[in-house]
């Protein structure tokens, strides 16, 4: 009987350790200061959907004072706190003005909003989503929060399909954003159609100054991510003379695992080179 009790005790310890190992990863991201957070929903008549928006304001925000730059974050619900907290820290660390972080939540399927062409049942809505950002969201943000309206003061940050959308915005409406943080972009989409769009619009986009940070996980070995990523990087490097360009491969990390580290590195790059 004693022996059985000892065995059960050991197994209990093993089970507890297994549980502890996996529960440790569920630590919540530190929440951004609620006093500096604004939330609202924006109805888009053109798309026919409502998008939840979260806005993180700088400490010294004043609606009639300094005009701040803006970072528009796709997949905003997941990444809002990380981006907002990181921007606050980097602003203090580098002694530069903070930014207004605008996270765009989901109004409809992200694969619809973030993909540039119809290549399946729920894809191809990026052109109208980009128009929504340009004509409905950005004017509201810049009016309500007195944000800087210059192209070079706007950043778009996206991961995966969000990174694809950022590359799409770069190619087809380069006047909207001057800074792009593209993380694990799904450039393979529809036979690399976004690379083709870049090529078609290259002449019109080469003149403007750009800042582009590209990040990916080194363990993204699904047979579609790395080669288009490298091809796109080489295209930007070789054809855009007035561009601040950087890329980062996160060692041993995969598609989702590399996301947070690349967000932080992308924001570092932006704050250092803006």
């Amino acid at each position: 009987m004693e022996k059985q009790k000892a065995i059960i005790l050991k197994l209990g310890v093993i089970a507890f350790l297994c549980q502890a190992v996996f529960y440790l990863n569920s630590c919540e991201e530190a929440k951004f200061d609620p006093a500096l957070t604004r939330t609202f929903t924006i109805e888009s008549p053109s798309i026919g959907a409502s998008y939840p928006i979260q806005v993180a304001l700088p400490d010294n925000f004043n609606s009639v004072g300094e005009k701040f730059s803006t970072i528009y974050v796709l997949d905003g619900k997941q990444d809002f706190n990380l981006v907002a907290n990181t921007c606050k820290n980097l602003s203090e660390r580098y002694g530069v003005p903070n930014v207004i972080v605008v996270s765009i939540g989901y109004g409809r399927d992200r694969s619809m909003d973030y993909t540039p062409t119809k290549s399946g049942s729920s894809t191809g809505g990026a052109p109208e989503f980009l128009k929504f950002i340009e004509n409905e969201l950005i004017p509201k943000i810049e009016q309500d929060f007195n944000a800087d309206t210059a192209r070079e003061s706007r950043v778009i940050l996206g991961h995966s399909y969000g990174g694809l959308f950022a590359a799409f915005a770069f190619a087809v409406n380069n006047n909207l954003f001057g800074n792009y943080i593209m993380l694990s972009p799904s450039l393979w989409f529809d036979n690399e159609v976004t690379l083709l769009m870049e090529k078609q619009n290259r002449n019109g986009n080469q003149e403007a100054h750009q800042l582009v940070f590209m990040g990916i996980g080194e363990a993204e070995n699904s047979g579609r991510m790395q080669a288009p990523f490298e091809a796109y990087y080489q295209i930007l490097r070789d054809h855009y003379s007035d561009m601040s360009l950087s890329k980062n491969r996160e060692h041993d990390l995969s598609h989702m695992g590399s996301k947070d580290p690349n967000i932080v590195k992308g924001l570092h790059y932006y704050f250092q080179n803006r």
């Binding site: 197994l11 297994c18 440790l24 990380l82 690399e192 080194e218 363990a219 041993d252 995969s254 947070d260």
Partner: protein
């Protein structure tokens, strides 16, 4: 409940099941040395194919040592996708571990904490005729450590074996979203094989 919690619960369930099947009159077999070749998949089901082997030595009834080798053909199902060709994609894992074994009448359950390395190599080429051909080759070593559960069924010289290995590198704490651990979750190995008792 988070997906990974289910996995850990399964792990715990195995442990508890074993606990309640303990019996003093058990005629359990102590396998002193076994070789257990097998095949398996990662939990990104269908994309990686594993050829593996576990050598297990139990110097005492409760103490187990193991050496696990795995050659993985990764991403076998999609090697040419949207003008992106996978030239090669494989990884080799070698781990050593120590742990304990619990016995029931016709089976045994071994839990090992394993440590080793992983070598990964893959190459992709973009050959879309609209662009210059671009290739990327990535290779390198990384640590590999985690938990292994090994189930052996059968009393004869040959026996059936099932293994599950949960890697704990990269350390799962990478973000607030449970999906952020996909590097680990997708690399949980499930293996089936036939073992042989050497002595």
């Amino acid at each position: 409940m988070k997906p990974i919690t289910y996995i850990s619960l399964v792990f715990a369930l195995f442990a508890c099941t074993t606990a309640f099947t303990q019996n003093k009159s058990s005629t359990a077999v102590v396998s002193e040395l076994t070789i257990e070749p097998g095949v398996g998949v990662h939990t990104n089901f269908g994309t990686d194919f594993l050829v593996t082997n576990l050598i297990q030595w139990n110097p005492t009834r409760r103490f187990s040592l193991g050496a696990h080798t795995s050659f993985n053909y990764n991403n076998i199902s999609q090697r040419d996708f949207n003008y992106v060709k996978t030239n090669y994609n494989y990884s080799i894992n070698q781990k050593f571990g120590a742990g304990t074994t619990f016995y029931s009448k016709k089976s045994s359950h071994t839990f090992l904490l394993m440590v080793g390395f992983k070598y990964t190599a893959f190459k992709e080429t973009l050959y879309n005729p609209d662009f210059d051909k671009v290739s990327v080759a990535i290779k390198g070593f990384s640590p590999d450590y985690g938990l292994m559960y090994s189930y052996k069924k059968g009393l004869k010289k040959c026996f059936f074996t099932f293994r599950m290995y949960i890697p704990l590198y990269p350390w799962p704490v990478k973000g607030s979203d449970i999906d952020y651990i996909d590097g680990n979750r997708d690399n949980i190995a499930l293996e089936l094989g036939i073992g042989v008792r050497i002595k």
